[in-house]
Structures are given as C-alpha cells and as structure tokens.
Amino acid sequence: MAGEIDVVQTLATTVAAGTPVLYATLGEILTERSGVLNLGLEGMMLVGGMAGFAATAVTGNVFIGVLVSLAAGAALALIHAFFACSIGVNQVVSGLSLTLVGTGIAAYFGRSLVGQPAADSFQTIKIPVLSDLPVVGPILFSQNLFVYFSFLLVPALYFFIYRTRPGLNLRAVGENPATADAQGISVVGTRYLYTMLGGALVGMGGASISLGSNPNWQENITAGRGWIAVGLVIFALWNPWRALVGAYLFGGLEALQFSLQVAGVPISSYFLRMLPYLLTIAALVFTQWRLKDQAGRASSAAPSGLGLFYLRRERG
C-alpha cells in the first residue's frame, strides 16, 4: 500500500458526503409519512441543485441560492402532489415522470452553467472551541452550514413527527386517512403541505451538493443519490434518526472510496463507485431480513396509507 488512510479525514468526508442524501431522505420521510410516495427525488435534487447554482450565479448570494432551491424542490413536488392527491394517478408512475421532468429541466436549463465556477459557495466554518476538540472537532465541527443545519434538523423533525400535535395529524393522515378525515383533518391539504415541504428539503439536498460539497454544476451531478435516498427511507423505517445512520453509511462509502484511491489501493475506481449502490440493496435486504418474523416485513413499518389515493366517499 502506497499510503495510509487518514481516519479522521475520512470520517469528516463521511459527514460531508452523507449530508445531501440526508436532506433528501428526511424530505422523503416527511412526504411518505403523510401517505404520499414520491419517487421523483432524483429529479427534484437535480432541479434544486441547478436552480440554486443558477440563482447564486445571478445574485452572487448563496442564501438566495438556497431559498431558490427550496422553492424549486417544492414547485416540482407540487406537480406530484396534484397528480397523486387531487386526481389520483398511480404514484409510482407519477414519481417516475417527475424524475424525467426534473432531469430534463436540469439538463435543459443548466446547459449554459456546465463548467462555470460557482459564484459563491458555503465554506467550511470552524466552530470556535468545539472544532478544537480532538477527533470530534475536525469531524463534526469543521463543516459547512448545510451540515450544521442538518444536525439541528434531524432532532427537530423527530420531535415534530412524534411529539407534537401537527406531527400526530401528519402520521394520522398517512396511517389512516379516513379516520383523520373523520376527525376533521384535511387529508388532501395535509398531503399537499408535506409533499411540498419534503420536496423543498430534497431540493435543498441538491443545493447542498452544487453550493456545498462540490461547488460546480454538471449534468447528473447527483449520480443516483435521489434514488439511494428512496431506499434509505425504507432502511430508516421512516425515522429521522435512522435516516442519519443510513445517510452516513452512504457517505462513509463515498469517503472510503476517495481515501482508498488516495492511499493507492489497487482496486479499480469503477468497482469502488459501485459500492454505494450495492450497499443500498444490502441495506434493504438487511432491513427485510431483520423484520423477517413480522407480517409484511418493512411494509408493517410503512405508513399504512402509503401510495394510496384517498377519495372521500359520500354515502347517501
């Protein structure tokens, strides 16, 4: 072996590389909790990343870029919400269409951005005192704002979903829309809201690549991370804390492949780059296998109303 693997550096890269996937996974958890299955993550991430990058290029302000990426993700999710919740098309097919539309929009409108250096991007901010801690400091407290915000978002979402009244309503709509409806909760309204909020987070996930971990723009910059996030939602059993674990597992593999290459390990980079995709399959197998004795396996943990169109049936 030509060099050695810097463990601390690898772990720091793990956190940085896992963050975009973490945002996408959290967004999809929020959406799926309301009973809407949105498979368009790849498209929303790409559009979010492209729009954020473009807005930053025009205004020179990264924060406006982030706002635009949130809006872009939410806008695409709105299309899905309309098709899934208002007219009740098959949500799998609608999500696939959204992937195509998003990929197409990002490629079509992003063409002139390819190869441009980012006008501005989120730099590493060392948090005083904390970043001086050994090991933990460089791993957790020498990152960019996207990473820090995700540290806050995970517990916040967990608290929101499990410990608040709106979170309870959200879960009710996802688990049993008819009952939620009878309780006076607007099923369609709730689903629209969380599909769009989820989409906004996914869009920001895209921006956390193009304005954060890899500040430039190229076609298919996400390289399947949106789809990996869809898989991680199942691995996470719709729980934000477990999403963090899943996302960092993914990030760890990315960091490791980078470190192994730097260390000069003689494994073709093509095979190393396959690992995240194979890991996603392995994570799903693990999830299903562990729940082997439960009826329906992971589907028993999924919101019962997931992917089903809710139409209030008036009986006269």
Binding site: S97, L100, Y270
Partner: protein
C-alpha cells in the same frame, strides 16, 4: 374448481367487502383508449413549445424540424431506435402486468450488451450461423441474470424491487465503463473507450438495403407476438394478471407467487437483454460509452402509455423512437438534448392526467345518475 373460477369467486367476495371492484391498471373504454393519448400528446407538445418559447427559442421551427427529420426524412433511423425500445418495453410490460415495478431495464439492457460483446470479442472467427444464435442466447441470459437479483429479493424477502432494480442500472453502467476503459479497450483504438469492431460474421444482418434497419426488428415483432400469447392466452399469463389485480386473491387461489415473480423478472430482463444484444451487434458493431441513450427508462414510459398491450407497444415505441433520434436534430439547432427527457416526462404526466380526469368524470357522472334514481 378451476383456477379461473376460484380467482373470479375471490374477486366477487372482494367486491362485496369493499363495495367497488379492485382498481384496474388500465381503463377499458375504446374511445378513451384512442382519444386520451392524442389529446395528451397535443397538450404535451404545447407545454414543450411553451418551455422553448420562454427560454427564447423559435418553438414552432424546432418542433416542426424534429417532426420533419424524425418522421419524414429519416424515418428509417426512427425505426432503428424503436427496435430496442420495443424489446425493452415488452419486458417491462410483462413485469408490470403483475404490478412488479421493474425499473431496471436499463441495467438489463447492458447485461445483454456485455454478454454478447464478450462472445463477439472472444470468438471472432466463428461463422454467423454459430455466433449469432450464441449471442442471442448470451443477450437473453445476460439480461435475465441482471433481472434475477431484484426478482429473487422481492420474491423471498419482499425487498422493494423499484430500488433494487434501479441500483443495478448504475452498477451495470460502471461495469461497462470499467470494461471499455480497461480490459476490453481496443488496442488500436487510439485510447478511445471503445472495444474492437466485431467481425462481420457477428453482426446482425441489415433488413432494409440502404438503411440501418437490422434483423433486430424481426426479434422485436416475434417477441411482441410471443408476449401477447403468453400474457393473453396462457394460464401463466392469467396468473400474472390476477397477481397484478389482487395479490390476496392470487394467494387464496393457490398461485405460486414467489415463483412467478422470479420468472417474470427473468423474462423481463431477458427481453431487455435481447434489446441490448441487437443494438450492439445490429447498429454499433462494437461497444462504446453511452450505447443506450436511456432506452431502459424510455421503455417504462412506452409500456405504460401502450397500456401494456404488446401491439400498442410497437406503435408507441416508433413514436418515441422518433423522439430519441431527434436528439441529433436538437444538437444541430442548438437545443440541449435534455429536452428529450423533459418531453418524455411531460408526455407521461399529460397521459396520466388525461386518463385520470376522464375516469373521474365518468365516475362522477355515474354517481349523479345513481343519486337521481334514488330521489325519483
């Protein structure tokens, strides 16, 4: 009691319990089948024109130029692109029939490409009568192998097949890149990532003189006939349909669900693999990067728009063949080929929306009618 009767009885019980028949994947009205796609395509074109207009392009010129080149001037090229699309879409449709979401046709396509390329490079001296059937078998097997894992995992562990089949697409692409940048790179190729050109014996013969339309078209049409027979005229095809309509009913009827899932994925992958084989030996004659401009993904849309009907798949595939081959035209007029992807997505949304709105209107009309009869 025969299987058919048992399944029908189960559906009857379901109807009584739920009050409505289980949701069908495809609506049946003949009128709906013809008018919705046409209207939807028009709406989709309108949206595409709007997008072009907003980004400051001459929308009418670009769209008419695409139509002219793809469907009049270079129609043969459109048919060439339709061949892999038909084969892959047939495979996807077969799995969709049982509500198995095989999103991995792209990877299975590459499975077929890699197997047949391996054979062509290993046996450059075999006569066509030996190497071509060998490559057909290789293509089918390569694709089936790539479809096996998602099928197996879904059947045995209920692992979500959407994710597993899709992840394998990326793996297949990376494996292809590894091979053409590494062991399979043409030593005389001036360092381009391409394999050596196949021997003439291992090329699929041209079907129409003066065009690139190759023997794969025969594969595609024969495959459409076989899928039609298999799905519509055999017990196994009926089992798939029952599984798709109502998995519980299928289980009660004693259908071997996990075996059928695996077979459906194997066949689905094999058809995509054959698409890959015919593309690499019929058109390119060597393996190069991006040999598929996303055929496997487009196939999903085609299967859906054709309502899983094999003959309709041929028609819709030709339409999309035109769209795929227009990528070159778009480059010529200076539009990003991302527009092709965008247009495909918009089309799918429009058709989905058109169908659902129409069904909703029918439903509401029926509801009103039943209310009226109650009041009178």
């Amino acid at each position: 009691m025969s299987l058919k009767q048992r399944a029908a009885k189960e559906l009857e019980i379901q109807k009584k319990l739920v009050g409505l028949p289980p949701r069908q994947i495809y609506p049946s009205t003949a009128f709906l089948a013809i008018i919705t796609p046409i209207l939807s395509i028009l709406v989709a074109l309108l949206i595409a024109a709007l997008i072009l207009f907003v980004s400051g392009r001459d929308a009418i010129f670009i769209l008419s130029e695409i139509f002219r080149t793809s469907f009049i001037q270079n129609f043969a090229e459109t048919v060439v692109k339709a061949i892999p699309l038909i084969l892959a879409a047939l495979g996807v449709a077969l799995a969709f029939r049982a509500r198995l979401w095989n999103i991995g046709a792209e990877g299975q396509f590459y499975g077929g490409v890699l197997a047949s390329t391996g054979l062509a490079l290993s046996f450059p001296n075999l006569p066509a009568l030996v190497i071509i059937p060998l490559m057909v078998a290789g293509g089918l097997l390569g694709g089936a192998l790539w479809g096996l894992l998602p099928g197996l995992l879904r059947a045995k562990l209920e692992v979500n097949e959407i994710i597993s089949s899709l992840m394998l697409n990326y793996v297949a692409l990376l494996l292809t890149d590894y091979l053409i940048f590494g062991p399979w790179k043409d030593p005389e190729g001036r360092n381009f990532p391409v394999t050596a050109t196949f021997s003439d014996e291992s090329r699929l013969p041209t079907l129409v003189e003066g065009t690139r339309i190759h023997f794969g078209l025969v594969f595609a049409i024969v495959a459409a006939g076989l899928v039609w027979l298999l799905v519509g005229r055999t017990k196994w095809g009926f089992e798939l349909k029952v599984m798709g309509d109502n998995l519980k009913a299928a289980r009660y009827a004693g259908i071997n669900i996990s075996r059928n899932i695996i077979i459906a994925f194997l066949l689905s992958g094999a058809l995509a693999g054959l698409a890959g084989m015919s593309e690499v030996t019929g058109v390119a004659g060597r393996l190069q990067q991006n040999i598929s401009p996303g055929y496997g993904y487009t196939a999903i849309i085609i299967a859906w728009l054709a309502r899983l009907n094999p003959w309709a798949i041929i028609m819709v595939a030709i339409l999309f063949g035109g769209l795929v081959s227009s990528g070159f035209t778009m480059q010529r007029v200076g539009v990003s080929s991302g527009l092709v992807t965008l247009l495909q997505g918009i089309l799918l949304f429009c058709v989905l929306g058109g169908e659902s709105l129409y069904r909703r209107l029918l439903y509401q009309a029926a509801l009103r009618r039943s209310n009226l009869t109650k009041e009178s």
